[in-house]
Assembly symmetry: C2
Homo-oligomer: 666 residues x 2
Amino acid sequence: MATTPGDEATVEFMLKRWKDPKTGLDNAWREDYKVYLSFPDKTNPNKVSVVDPENRVLFAAREREKAYKPEQDDPEVVQPFAAYSPAGNVKGELVYANQGKMSDFELLNRTLDLRGTIAITRYGGEGRSKKAINAAKFGVVGVLVYTDPYDINDGLVSESETYPHSWYLPPSGVERGSYNIDFGDLLTPYLAAKDDVYRRPKEDITGIPPIPAQPIGFDDAERLICELDGDDAPTEWQGSLNCTYKLGGPGFKPTSPLNNSNVHMDIYNTERLENSANVMGIIRGSVEPDRYVIYGNHRDSWVHGAIDPSSGTAVMLEITRVLGKMVKEGRWRPRRSIIFGSWGAEEFGLIGSAEYTEEYFSKLSERTVAYINVDISVFANATLRASASPAAQSVLFTASKQVNAPGTTTSVYENWIKYFNRTSPNGIIPNVGFLTGAGSDYAAFMHYLGITSMDISYYYDRSKTRARIYPAYHTAYDTFDYASTFIDPGFTSHQAVARTAGNVLVRLADSLLLPFNCSDYAESLERYLSQAVTSYEEKLANKRISMESLKKAVQLFRDTATKLDRLIGDSDLAKETPLKTRRINDQLMLLDRAFLDPLAFPEQYGFRHVIWASRSSSVPTFPGLADAVEKAESTDLKEDWDQAHKHLSIVTQAIAGAAHTLDDVI
Amino acid sequence: MATTPGDEATVEFMLKRWKDPKTGLDNAWREDYKVYLSFPDKTNPNKVSVVDPENRVLFAAREREKAYKPEQDDPEVVQPFAAYSPAGNVKGELVYANQGKMSDFELLNRTLDLRGTIAITRYGGEGRSKKAINAAKFGVVGVLVYTDPYDINDGLVSESETYPHSWYLPPSGVERGSYNIDFGDLLTPYLAAKDDVYRRPKEDITGIPPIPAQPIGFDDAERLICELDGDDAPTEWQGSLNCTYKLGGPGFKPTSPLNNSNVHMDIYNTERLENSANVMGIIRGSVEPDRYVIYGNHRDSWVHGAIDPSSGTAVMLEITRVLGKMVKEGRWRPRRSIIFGSWGAEEFGLIGSAEYTEEYFSKLSERTVAYINVDISVFANATLRASASPAAQSVLFTASKQVNAPGTTTSVYENWIKYFNRTSPNGIIPNVGFLTGAGSDYAAFMHYLGITSMDISYYYDRSKTRARIYPAYHTAYDTFDYASTFIDPGFTSHQAVARTAGNVLVRLADSLLLPFNCSDYAESLERYLSQAVTSYEEKLANKRISMESLKKAVQLFRDTATKLDRLIGDSDLAKETPLKTRRINDQLMLLDRAFLDPLAFPEQYGFRHVIWASRSSSVPTFPGLADAVEKAESTDLKEDWDQAHKHLSIVTQAIAGAAHTLDDVI
């Protein structure tokens, strides 16, 4: 876990590997930040209990997960907790609030007075901290969060069916996690968390729970939920616990031994400034040392973290070993520089990578070709999965065609297209996702700096499981035993990811012409435009707001992308002046940068990319426009329609501005 | 004046010149924006009068300036007005409020109830619109602004001593001007003012007068001020009108024929969306067409504008003629591309240049080497004057050493150093000013885009006059007759500016290595640091805020600048790979960009450059820090000291971040 002795040991391990004289990099070093973290109190564990009116404890939730292997008994296993949940001692009658969405609380609030209650919610459907933030708006005083077996175990609940008998989550397993919205160190927004930098008062932090929150296992959750009084919860709220879920009276049913009793939460989390390190390593470029391809993953975990993050760290270490060996033996040096980052404190909110981008903002913005993120490298061993800026789609395709899928003679690409695919103007292709969220360390690169980024992993066959994520995620069961027995026996999927991501990396670092495709970007914009026109054109026209300029901007982007593609196609760059290649490469490198607008989303920390910023609306289109139109529709206020018009203009100008960068340079 | 038939005629004129087959540029075109402008009503002129209680007009200010030459009689001469002053009909007793600074109104407010009064103020000491904004805070209902002969005429007041007998302002001369703070189109902040872009409601505009304002001549001002009742105004408030200035009773003295009468302002300004054009012209670069040197000046004036802006436009046209001829004859083509901009609607708030930078933000940010602004090219014929980013100091010196001062065999540089000089670590050098304000079209380039910019002109011998600016500025007397008779007979200073600015332009466009010096930048940062330490270190230490990190950042900048200089000195770039030169040039080109922080000054429109943003404090140092410390000192509130600490961290991170870009690239 970040900043523990274990973390420090991994720092030393990475440094040793990257400084190895035979297989290491050109240079490696650590960069330290003093960051604001939240921990449970080892000597005073968080407690969740049910107490009767005389304060007798009728039920107490587990304080640690059940041990099936020695790893769970390790004293360093941190108690399950909700990082950044405030400490506090709260008591109230229980209600069941489904996923803790605003709509969930609104529905409950129709029939129940939620003031003073404790809400139990299940993971999924809403961000961790938002469950508590939403709850507090209704007067709820504490929030419990558990993982429903429906969502994680395909409904299986018994110990005989879960780890160590399968990959499924044991009943006592608890997903830890950071309960915050904004990424980066919470006390130093937009400033690298150096020793004497300005730190805002902790009261000014937004996006963290205003009331105590605590995650628990589904065995404890079952005890609580199955005793609830009140109406049946709606069908969509039902899970796989062994009862019909009720809403709560609030509180427990008259026939329950818990009747008339309150749920009691004693949370003792404390926040501290701790030293967190990124480990950086480089291979100098031979021809364009001032162009960087960055490859990174976090190093910290919640517990052992065999999968999250070590499956990715293993891949990174293998790539650095292979490339480092070639460099050390004088057999190879990339055209461009490669920077490897082993980020610290990702689990607390992508902190290490965010601080790095804040400290080196200008240098990275000016010179970075791409960022490759491989965090959890293997969720499962069915297929490649990738999310990326559309500019990087083609290099992902090229690379994945050159690697065999684990244990087959089929390419990763051919295997991939079976699991994720879509129809494009060029036929059926693998469906590359968009990087619209902040799920891993690509966030600061993609959203804050506008660097073409990608996130690569091996993934499930979705027809075989509906697990939200691999079941041991963020629990004490995410161990080497779990990984090697259930996730990737033989580690062949790890190899496939290493080969694919390594192929992408080398192509980005070595190709004379950057392997980015601006026409693929045009196609994505056209998809978003088409969706926006379908969903919003009529509504906007009713308010006399025209989408014509947006259409023209997307058309201009398509035209200039075609023009640049033609220029590339008509050139034999190996024979022309290096400055011509550099010019085209700069156009490609800076394409994502052209979509940045630091003022477009004042309420979303670090989100500056007008196309890929996160979005509340479910319509897959330009996020600022979608969210603004939906708000305007709901209020029908003039100022909200004005905001919709403003966001339409912002995205129009961003797309037209990006198109200008693809056009003839003068 | 912007968007009038006269403006349209100059658009056609520029296009014709820049498309001339023998002396024109590679290409030229117009770019149009629909911008929000303010005009007086030709059929219903603004009126300033004194009316007695029975509403009889006892005095009426002139509605137009007196004609000494046919130019003043031209029906196209616009009535003097305060652009963006609201229309309104207000009446009140008169007070004299000096320059309309907050401190001026505070002083008045100690003895007078200002509510319902009209304030007369003189130009200078405070921005135009701020005079009215300040006044309104005290309940003042209207503001008159005049030019005191002390400030503009070295005290001379009589018609026999002013134009056409000298360069001084005639008694009826009135300085027009735009009464706003923010630059760019006021309805479309950060968005180019295209046809169907979102336009905010006019009520949301900030920085314009909340109460009617109107400029008048000093003949009319004398009549009003010299009749005032009340206490004597302080010595520093006295000007050169023929009386002792009083504060006002409020109102006029008992012995005055104006006693018991009110000043009446009838303002009929209206705002309209009008089409304003930039005229753009280019010379394509031969080797690095994707690197731009931009040279610009505005085209619009208030009246004839022989000096402002046509002295600069004449210089630009001569430069384009000379370079265009060489290009058309096939004798020369620059290494980099040159873009010329003839900006529209500068007088209303730098609108054309600001809209251009908004529309092409990404392209310009990525590729622009420098922006050269020559607006008023000749204020007077004594000496060169230049303000610039420190990176550009050396090229200004090199160029000015190669041009002779008008009518001499002394270089412009040798002449310059006699009038403006300072001691630097390298001895006495001409003192190049900093571009800390938004006085002309460099603002969007320097402050919004972080492009290394410079502003060049010929200027006064300050020992011979204390005129705030050349006296005919923004009046109907700024004519060819005035310019050729009094400002620059023989136009030799125009030639000197054309040669100097042209030399700078060609060096920027043609040098293999960009003629920027990062060590000069280090020296400027050291000057600012030294000033900050002297002024603030102890005060900050008292609040436990340390300046050590800032000192370290400046030292790091110095060290990395030295390192880059050494790399340049040790290289024979003509013999090395073009990519090495390009790499160093990119470091130099992007140096100013590295100081941008779009969130540092949320209340200052378009100011993103952390070092050169405008500053209220009189201490010449880092603006955010200076203003924040001074505010904190005045309130001693914790949150204000927090802001001071935050600004210290912002500037520290910006300088360290810029230093990283000068360091070894990997």
